[in-house]
């Protein structure tokens, strides 16, 4: 298998792009109607959960240096670990499928209403699977360029909106107590949790010692930028409008005018699409490499090509036109599954590894 190596900076930017672009399409629709101006609290809790997971993965990654999440779950748990590895890989694929579905739905409603959803799934799968095929180094280099653009664009978006914000929309804070915000934290936590992809990338890091610091700071930066953007869109559109429209961030950027350009929303959208490209390709790489490690294939490339057929067909899945199923899936099933796998499984592996660690020491 080819050894890809990425620098700390590239790792940081991959995580950052993943955090920002995954949740920009999914999170506002879930979070804003439920908690409105208290969403920051949910985000903070989500980040805290994620830092906990990051620490576990860091510890495991350092203890089983050179092994990926899929590999050390087998080392730690034995044959059962293989099942865990399979679940991780399937989960990565599930995330790709879910977000690809969201992505296609969003683009075919917001960007090009006349185009079929398949257009987006085909083109996106084409670039993403090519990126995954080329390997982590290409993805990392693309990330370096795209993430900087995302960061600058997000900051500019916030900056341009400042004069039109109505901060009283954000008050009163915590009017229903903290309980709803804590309950809603499952959404950001499950989406941030995608960063267990860190477990797959860590063996490729030139200096794994930095992994925890980089990961936490990337998630913090991403979550901060996104929280501020969400709050700005709330303060601009008002809680009523923001919780009723499908993609508040999109409408938020639509209201802004920058010098002589009428509508910068399309540009913002393009920037987030390029972010989504990074996330997809990192996940795709992680999933196919995990599958290759699981089944002992020589290269991840076959898995990339094989799975791309399924991803292309996402808009055609029978469940994808069923709105009530989609709502149930994204509001209930996905967060539950996400938390179970990202938090639960990793904790289990961690606990077993810890016990083994001390048993070995005791001898």
């Amino acid at each position: 298998m080819e050894r890809y190596q990425i620098s700390g900076r590239q790792f940081f930017f991959i995580i950052f792009a993943a955090v920002v672009s995954l949740i920009i399409f999914s999170l506002p629709t879930q979070l804003i109607p439920e908690v409105k101006q208290d969403l920051w609290l949910s985000m903070v809790i989500g980040v805290l959960i994620d830092i906990y997971v990051a620490y576990i993965l860091y510890w495991l990654g350092r203890k089983y240096a050179g092994q990926s999440l899929v590999q050390y779950s087998r080392t730690v748990l034995g044959p059962i670990g293989k099942v865990f590895g399979l679940i991780f890989v399937l989960f990565f694929f599930l995330v790709i499928l879910s977000t690809m579905w969201l992505f296609c739905k969003f683009l075919s409603t917001a960007l090009l209403p006349k185009a079929p959803a398949m257009l987006f799934s085909i083109t996106m799968t084409l670039v993403v699977s090519w990126a995954a095929y080329l390997g982590l180094e290409s993805i990392a280099r693309m990330t370096q360029i795209i993430s900087v653009i995302i960061l600058i664009a997000s900051l500019l978006l916030i900056l341009f909106s400042i004069q039109e914000l109505r901060l009283d929309y954000l008050l009163p804070q915590l009017e229903n107590g903290v309980a709803p915000a804590i309950k809603a934290a499952k959404y950001p936590a499950s989406w941030f949790g995608i960063c267990i992809v860190m477990g797959m990338l860590m063996p490729h890091l030139i200096n794994p010692k930095q992994a925890l610091k980089l990961k936490v700071s990337a998630v913090l930066l991403g979550a901060l930028v996104m929280t501020v953007t969400f709050l700005c869109s709330l303060a601009l559109l008002g809680p009523y409008l923001a919780s009723r429209i499908d993609f508040p961030i999109y409408y938020f950027s639509r209201t802004l005018r920058v010098t002589f350009f009428e509508r910068i929303d399309v540009l913002m959208l393009l920037i987030y699409i390029s972010g989504a490209f990074i996330t997809f390709s990192a996940l795709y790489f992680a999933a196919s490499e995990g599958a290759a490690q699981l089944f002992g294939s020589r290269s991840h490339r076959g898995w990339v090509l094989g799975s791309s057929i399924i991803v292309v067909a996402v808009p055609l899945l029978p469940a994808s036109n069923n709105a009530s199923f989609a709502a149930l899936y994204f509001d209930k099933l996905f967060p539950l599954l996400g938390l179970l796998i990202e938090g639960g499984f990793t904790t289990l592996i961690f606990a077993v590894a810890l016990i083994r660690h001390y048993v070995e020491r005791g001898k």
């Binding site: 620098s7 090009l112 180094e137 290409s138 280099r141 002589f260």
Partner: protein, 483 residues
């Protein structure tokens, strides 16, 4: 040594028949010494410098040897060595080897009764004088350009890098043309691995003729299918000298003024040697104009088509209405119109290059009047499209590298196609595809997008702005780190 069977007529006959009695082969027979031993000088007209031939080969042999007693000299070579005043003599050559020397411009001397002969270096063919390179012109900077002769080209580099570490190595490529290829580098700057890689790639070449450095370029490049040039070619010795000092390896090919430099990155192609000869703030500004030009040359027509077809709401209403009113009555769809104009421009450009200078102005008149003026006035083409194509054309000419601007001209059509399918989203997908290709591209072990991706702060700074010389403290840096 002396043997009866090697008669001079036989030796001469062997050379002339081997060369097919070519008319440019000259044979001068004479005798030397008291014994009147028959000797002949053989050379190719035009390949030798007649003055050298006369002064240092023929006249010493003919004028000073009448009294020489050959029986005193055991070896004729020793005698001839002392008589001939030319700077270089090779001896003990078989006739077969000697023919190669004749072909390379030497004069060989065969002696009656000797199997081996002597080659005297008399190379001196007409070369073009050193002129200002026409492909890259600078306002300020040296005006000398490479010529077709390797000796002159190497001397142009040596004059600039007076350093004992400068290495010049020769390889011969082409089974028919036997073209000399020189590899020039600085021993303590160019990585050993890089030099070895260049050697092995050139040695691997199996081709019958090499007439221009592009033959070599195409055969040693990393990705054969890539549109992007991964070998830098230039006509300017100062450009090559700068590359050599920066640790690159130069490849000079006999018979062409275009030298090659490897490794080559995208940002090297965006540099002009003049960047270092003018004030650094201006150079930085110009460099950024070039980056913008690169982007415009690639996507401007695509943006025009994509935005007008798919996202007209992005354009401010006054501008949109003026574009739409200008397009009224144009019979073609927007994409066809843009494609047509782009192709027309490419045709005009190609016609302009091949035209004799006297006819050249006719092309510009046809281009400006017929296409620019009449087509718009007749309502066949809209003027916004003409403006977009003109802007793109100007941007293409901003790119300093001819190879890179050729790549952009091709990719522009690809982007146009992407834009016509899915608007700005299509452009984005197209850009990501190009980006992915660039990130996976290497030139002799160096990532093509370095130092931006992978990022190297010191080098990236030097790429994005023209750092003034006083701010550069460390000159040598590791250039070939991957990651």
């Amino acid at each position: 040594m002396r043997a009866a069977e090697y008669r001079i007529e036989e030796l001469i006959g062997k050379v002339t028949s081997e060369l097919g009695h070519s008319v440019d082969l000259s044979v001068r027979q004479f005798t030397i010494g008291v014994q009147q031993a028959p000797v002949a000088a053989i050379w190719l007209n035009g390949m030798v410098d007649s003055q050298t031939l006369d002064e240092s080969v023929l006249s010493p042999l003919l004028s000073y040897n009448r009294s020489v007693n050959l029986s005193v000299h055991k070896n004729l070579y020793v005698l001839l060595r002392d008589l001939i005043t030319a700077k270089k003599i090779t001896h003990d050559l078989t006739i077969d080897q000697a023919i190669e020397y004749v072909l390379a411009g030497n004069t060989i001397i065969v002696m009656d009764g000797y199997e081996h002969c002597i080659a005297v270096e008399t190379i001196g063919y007409e070369t073009r004088s050193i002129e200002e390179p026409s492909s890259t012109v600078v306002v300020r900077g040296p005006r000398d350009g490479f010529v077709e002769s390797l000796e002159v080209n190497v001397s142009l580099i040596r004059r600039r890098i007076v350093n004992r570490k400068l290495r010049v190595e020769q390889l011969v490529v082409g089974s028919v043309t036997n073209t000399s290829v020189l590899i020039v580098y600085l021993e303590d700057r160019a990585p050993v691995k890089l030099v070895g890689e260049v050697h092995s790639r050139i040695n691997r070449i199996n081709i019958d003729s090499v007439l221009e450095s592009n033959y070599i370029e195409e055969l040693i490049r990393d990705n054969r299918y890539s549109l992007f040039p991964t070998v830098y070619s230039t006509e300017r010795p100062d450009d090559v000298a700068e590359g050599i000092v920066a640790g690159r390896v130069a490849i000079l090919v006999s018979g062409t003024p275009f030298a090659l430099l490897v490794p080559c990155t995208l940002f090297l192609l965006m540099k002009s040697p003049e960047d270092y000869y003018i004030a650094y703030p201006v150079a930085t500004f110009v460099r950024w104009i070039r980056f913008v030009g690169l982007f415009i040359a690639l996507v401007f027509p695509a943006l025009y088509v994509g935005v007008l077809l798919f996202h007209p709401e992005m354009i401010p209403p006054p501008l949109l209405s003026s574009i739409l009113s200008a397009r009224e009555g144009v019979p073609f769809p927007l994409l066809i119109e843009a494609l047509l104009m782009e192709l027309t421009f490419e045709g005009l450009r190609e016609a302009g290059i091949r035209m004799p200078r006297a006819v050249g102005s006719a092309i510009s008149i046809v281009g400006a009047l017929v296409i620019g003026e009449s087509a718009v006035r007749a309502g066949i083409i809209s003027s916004p499209t003409v403006i977009v194509v003109a802007g793109t054309a100007i941007s293409t000419f901003i790119i300093p590298s001819v190879d890179l601007s050729g790549t952009l001209r091709l990719l522009r059509f690809f982007m146009l196609l992407c834009a016509s399918i899915a608007g700005l989203y299509g452009i984005l997908i197209g850009l990501i595809l190009i980006g992915l290709h660039l990130t996976s591209l290497y030139s002799f072990g160096t990532p093509y997008l370095s130092p931006i991706a992978p990022y190297n702060r010191h080098e990236a700074l030097k790429t994005l702005i023209r750092v003034p010389w006083w701010a550069l403290r460390t000159r040598t840096r590791k250039k070939h780190n991957r990651g």
